[in-house]
């Protein structure tokens, strides 16, 4: 029953988006187009509700429910399980894109008419492709062959966490928001829209996307920190990498849009960025879903689906890039001084692209070498740390310089602010070096401190040139980045880790810490077997847990974390042989992780600042 309802609503959405594309090209009125976007949204929303209901009532006649749910699973996770799999997550993708296009329809009266019609036609094409894919090749409403099983195979236990409930939706809100810049860029190129109109239209969407992506990526990181028993928060895993690429491109796009509004520079490049940013989200989806990259995120590798995504990507992004290549080059009459915000904005594009290219090269190098029948090669965190962080340091310094330079004609930053920031930066560096930090961590911390202090006192010459609202947003976002970078540097430099085998009653002392495993208690849950340890660390009591989910025969470690202002203490418990019994040897891993709280705060403040920019952009539309 659920299957049939789902199929019908998705079919309806396919028709609505096809009609949207055709009617918009033929110049239909906004009211008609808005009705079609609403019809599409209703269809996909109804399909999503249907799928969630099927998960809630555990209808195992749907194969996606059978493969990813279990009747003993708590309600919360049954609901979240509806997007914790390939088919469901792509349905969510279609839902959010549909919602954004409908919002665009609401805002359309503020944009030139022909431009918005073409933008709807492009959106219609993109949505039609996505809906068709979800309705056919990747349908979550596929019936199971044969008789209905009595119970499901359960959700991957690593995904049964509050992090799973919020990380994918927030991340997808960021990804799908990039459909709009792509549609706007294509429409701007097709209708020869003046650059300033394009910049005004695209800016809020680029900011909205970066804001959600910042939050979404860091929520994923927070989940990994708590749920994977390793104590890290960023692993340069291929799937993490492909989520950062759209973030970098959208960030470059939003800053380029400001440059157009102010100085009419970077016009052609920003159109290309609008196409590429959406391309990066699709490429990421392709790489993950096709099985080219293997990780915890690759739910099921299905080559047929990979090919369909590749075809979709080629048509939409190839088409967009073709438009950009054929676009007549506009002769800009720039008269800016070398030392100006204009140059800084060009440089930020160079640095953000250098980071993007490095991440792409690092991620694709091993599969490409493999395709060339070369001996295998692995590219991991040590490579990225050495290659990307120096460019990040340059970016932090550029951010500090850029906000104190004015457009067109540069004046040197306020001397006193610069001197104070310089002193703060040197003090930070000395502090890091005294405690034996690596040069890379020291340089990162010093430049982050410089950025933080430069932002603390904005210059009066710069103040006059932009609205108070947008200045406040910039200051917030940039301070967030500085806090994050400072905390991440401290975290990398002063991490302390011990790995020991302990039996109940055992203890050890290492460095400043004495740790004892007081006792172990059984703590079974509805769908798992659990053991919880009582661990004393320097007078604090922590309760790390070890679980085994029998349906999938999979263990998870639930680390116990004691959070404080400057450092986290983290204890995880691991059964050495992967089983729970009287003979079990327990490995206890202890971490002191400095600055963790500030990594989350910095990210949140950054997302907030970017969100403020998006809000301002929508108001000024």
């Amino acid at each position: 029953m659920f299957g049939l309802v789902g199929h019908i609503s998705l079919g309806l959405s396919c028709l609505a988006t096809l009609a949207l594309a055709i009617f918009a090209f033929r110049g239909a009125g906004l009211a008609t187009l808005r009705r079609l976007t609403l019809l599409n949204l209703s269809g996909v929303a109804f399909a999503s509700l249907t799928l969630i209901t099927a998960f809630v009532v555990s209808d195992f006649s749907l194969s996606v429910v059978y493969q990813n749910s279990h009747s003993a699973k708590p309600l919360f996770y049954r609901i979240a399980g509806s997007w914790g799999n390939h088919e469901g997550s792509l349905l969510m993708w279609a839902l959010m894109s549909a919602a954004y296009v409908h919002i665009l329809a609401k805002l359309a009266p503020r944009l030139p008419e022909r431009f918005s019609q073409i933008a709807f036609a492009m959106s219609g094409i993109a949505l039609f492709g996505a809906n068709l894919f979800v309705a056919t090749l990747s349908s979550p409403f596929e019936q199971i062959a044969g008789s209905v099983p009595t119970d499901g195979q359960d959700l991957n236990p690593l995904l049964q966490d509050i992090g799973l409930i919020i990380h994918p939706p927030v991340l997808y809100l960021g990804y799908t928001a990039l459909l709009i810049p792509w549609a706007l860029a294509c429409a701007a190129m097709l209708t020869r829209l003046p650059a300033k109109d394009w910049a005004r239209a695209v800016k809020p969407w680029a900011y909205l996307s970066t804001s959600f992506l910042t939050a979404g990526i860091m929520l994923g990181s927070w989940w990994a920190y708590r749920e994977l028993g390793w104590g890290g928060w960023w692993f340069w895993d291929p799937v993490e990498n492909v989520s950062v690429i759209p973030w970098l491109l959208a960030l470059a796009l939003s800053h380029s849009a400001i440059s157009i509004q102010r100085r009419n520079i970077l016009t052609g490049w920003s159109l290309t960025l609008g196409v590429l940013a959406f391309g990066a989200t699709l490429l990421g989806t392709f790489l993950v879903r096709s099985g080219s990259l293997v990780s915890v995120h690759a739910f099921a590798a299905a080559p047929g689906r990979g090919l369909a995504i590749l075809a979709y990507l080629t048509v939409l992004i190839g088409g967009g890039l073709l438009l950009a290549a054929l676009r007549p080059v506009c002769k800009a009459s720039q008269d800016d001084a070398l030392l100006s915000r204009d140059t800084a904005m060009r440089l930020q594009n160079v640095l953000l692209m250098a980071i993007t290219i490095t991440i792409i090269v690092g991620t694709l190098y091993p599969p490409i070498l493999q395709a060339l029948a070369q001996p295998p090669l692995a590219v991991g965190a040590p490579y990225y740390n050495i290659s990307v962080i120096p460019v990040v340091i340059l970016t932090l310094l550029l951010m500090a310089a850029a906000t104190s330079l004015s457009w067109r004609e540069g004046t040197l930053p306020h001397k006193r602010t610069a001197i104070l920031a310089g002193i703060a930066s040197v003090l930070t560096a000395v502090g890091f070096l005294i405690f034996n930090a690596t040069p890379l961590a020291t340089a990162t911390a010093a430049s982050a401190a410089f950025l933080l202090m430069m932002g603390a006192r904005p210059r009066s010459a710069v103040q006059s040139s932009s609205s108070r609202r947008s200045r406040r947003a910039t200051l917030t976002a940039h301070s967030g980045v500085a806090i994050f970078a400072l905390a991440a540097a401290a975290n990398a430099a002063f991490d302390f880790e011990v790995d020991r085998a302990l039996s109940p009653g055992g203890s050890f002392t290492q460095g400043d810490y004495t740790l004892s495993l007081e006792r172990l208690d059984r703590s079974d849950g509805p769908n798992y077997l659990g053991v919880t340890g009582t661990v004393f660390v320097n007078g604090l009591t922590l309760f790390p847990e070890y679980r085994i989910y029998p349906v999938r025969e999979m263990p998870t470690t639930e680390a116990a974390i004691h959070m404080s202002l400057f450092r986290d203490l983290r204890v995880s418990l691991n059964a050495v042989d992967g089983r729970i019994g009287d003979q079990t040897q327990w490995a206890v891993r202890f971490h002191r992780k400095p600055g963790m709280l500030w990594i989350w705060i910095g990210s949140f403040v950054t997302a907030l600042g970017l969100g403020m920019s998006a809000f301002t952009g929508f108001r000024e539309l």
Binding site: W230, P366, S387, N574
Partner: protein, 123 residues
């Protein structure tokens, strides 16, 4: 039969996986090395970030070599002789990785070149 085989496998490797007691300096060296060595059954994950059984074995092997007084380079070479060069998460600098290592700097120089070229054309 299959499950019995697995149980035996688990049981035999368990002995090798019990962490070894080390001094703090040794522990710090070990932690740094764990980040350089890939978990053999993972894609781009370090043994330090993995609870896979083979990673546990590898970590204990690294510990043992540290306690035996071997240098970091010796340990990395020993590990790559056993598992192949793709056990290193930081690829060696050699001909076929030139593009990989040059990527960020090539991108920056091309970008700077483009900016300067455009400026010159303007004036």
């Amino acid at each position: 039969m299959r499950s019995l085989g697995l149980t035996l496998l688990f049981a035999t490797s368990a002995l090798a996986q019990v962490p070894i007691d080390m001094t703090q300096a040794q522990q710090e060296r070990a932690s740094a090395l764990y980040k350089e060595v890939r978990c053999p059954t993972c894609v781009a994950q370090a043994v330090g970030d993995s609870d896979a059984l083979l990673s546990q074995d590898l970590k204990r092997n690294i510990d043992a070599l540290i306690v035996a007084g071997r240098s970091d380079d010796f340990i990395l070479d020993r590990v790559s002789q056993t598992y192949g060069d793709d056990i290193r998460l930081r690829p060696k600098r050699e001909g076929r990785t030139a593009l990989l290592w040059a990527a960020p700097w090539v991108a920056i120089f091309l970008g700077l070149g483009l900016i300067l070229h455009r400026r010159r054309k303007r004036s």
